[in-house]
């Protein structure tokens, strides 16, 4: 983003950006930056809080009058990340003991996922699968976990594997939005990777990919680096 700021400003546009990693803004020295100590992924701070978002935008736009660049100003309000406390999200009971627990769990969350799509009007799911195809993807991940299959055995490259991980995460997080009482920054993420069968399956697959060294990109980006 800092590189783009320099290019756009040099082209004749007045630019101002949000910094969420202060050290990066200090190093790259873009013309005007408002540093917002907010969780990664929420640069305007708070979802569904138009007044707060507008305060951030107003602070940004005020910087456009400055030509003593580079300018790096701190937004006065701080929002802490809450990922250490997972979302309080109930998991469905075991319904079909013949199914792998991850598949049973996936099926049990379908109602909540569908309710969220209706409530929000959109979904981040769909990179490589819709909700009806996710079970097939989990079956492939189980092959890696239990049969030591490789990505090549599945016919997957790194981007496909990462996309599978993102689709599964989207399904669970969106179901969780209907079930949890707390959905602060990273709380659904922590719940997914630490509490659910599918999140833990993805973690084990990431560990397998690391062990075999088959694909560094896939093992790096399959799940967040914060998940040990």
């Amino acid at each position: 983003m800092s590189v783009l700021s320099h290019i756009f400003e040099a082209a004749g546009l007045v630019t101002v950006g949000i910094s969420i990693v202060r050290g990066q803004a200090e190093t790259a020295r873009p013309p005007r930056m408002l540093h917002c100590e907010f969780p990664l992924g929420r640069p305007l701070g708070k979802p569904d809080d138009a007044e707060f978002q507008r305060r951030v935008l107003t602070a940004m736009l005020e910087l456009t009058s400055r030509d003593d660049v580079p300018v790096l100003v701190d937004f006065p309000e701080v929002i802490e990340e809450e990922g250490d406390a997972p979302a309080a999200c109930p998991l469905p009971p075991r319904i079909d003991s013949d199914l792998h627990p991850a598949l049973d769990e996936l099926n049990g969350l379908r109602g909540a996922y569908d309710r969220n799509v209706s409530a929000v009007g959109r979904t981040l799911l769909g990179r490589v699968a819709g909700p009806d195809e996710l079970g097939g993807l989990i079956e492939q991940l189980i092959r890696i976990d239990e049969e030591n299959a490789t990505l090549a055995d599945l016919g997957w490259d790194a981007m496909h594997a990462i996309s599978v991980g993102q689709d599964l995460r989207a399904y669970y997080e969106e179901a969780g939005m209907q079930l949890a009482t707390n959905t602060g920054a990273r709380q659904l993420l922590t719940w997914f990777y630490e509490s659910t069968q599918t999140g833990n399956l993805l973690r084990r697959v990431r560990d397998k990919l690391k062990e075999t060294g088959e694909d560094q990109m896939a093992s790096t980006y399959l799940i967040p680096g914060t998940q040990s």
Partner: protein
């Protein structure tokens, strides 16, 4: 941990250019350039290069195509404006805070690691020119 890693990524050096605002904000057209890797029209494939895509101002059927799993996504699912404040800009244009909103906003993929030669010499200048041709005065950059 993620912030520390990002802050240690080397940044290319640029001479800090400055363009001076020559009119009040209430007369300025404003565009968003996001590095959240947003796309629309059902294009949801992950993205890992220095190209950009155009987001019409009235489009809200946007998809997140960023490759990185290292940031919160639930907030964006709940409310696009938490990273892409198109609704807020429309409101600010309606109440006269800004002069208007760009016809199109632009989306790049953030967290790039490389020499940025394509962005510097090709896609970056082309994107800037696209906004200038639309009469844009002010660009706000939003990361994710």
């Amino acid at each position: 941990m993620i912030r520390k890693g990002v802050s240690e990524i080397p940044a290319p050096e640029f001479e800090v250019a400055v363009t001076t605002l020559t009119k009040p904000l209430s007369e300025c057209k404003v565009a968003i350039v996001t590095t959240a890797g947003l796309r629309h029209n059902g294009d949801v494939k992950l993205w890992f290069d220095e190209t950009f895509t155009v987001l019409p101002n009235d489009a809200r059927d946007l998809q997140l195509s960023h490759f990185s799993p290292n940031f919160d996504r639930a907030g964006l699912t709940q409310d696009l404006n938490v990273a892409y404040p198109a609704d807020r800009l429309d409101e600010m244009a309606a109440d006269g805070t800004i002069g208007g909103v760009a016809t199109n906003h632009l989306s790049f993929m953030g967290a790039q690691i490389g020499d940025f030669s394509t962005i510097t010499h090709d896609t970056g200048p082309a994107a800037a020119q696209m906004l200038i041709d639309d009469g844009v005065d002010v660009v706000i950059f939003t990361p994710v």
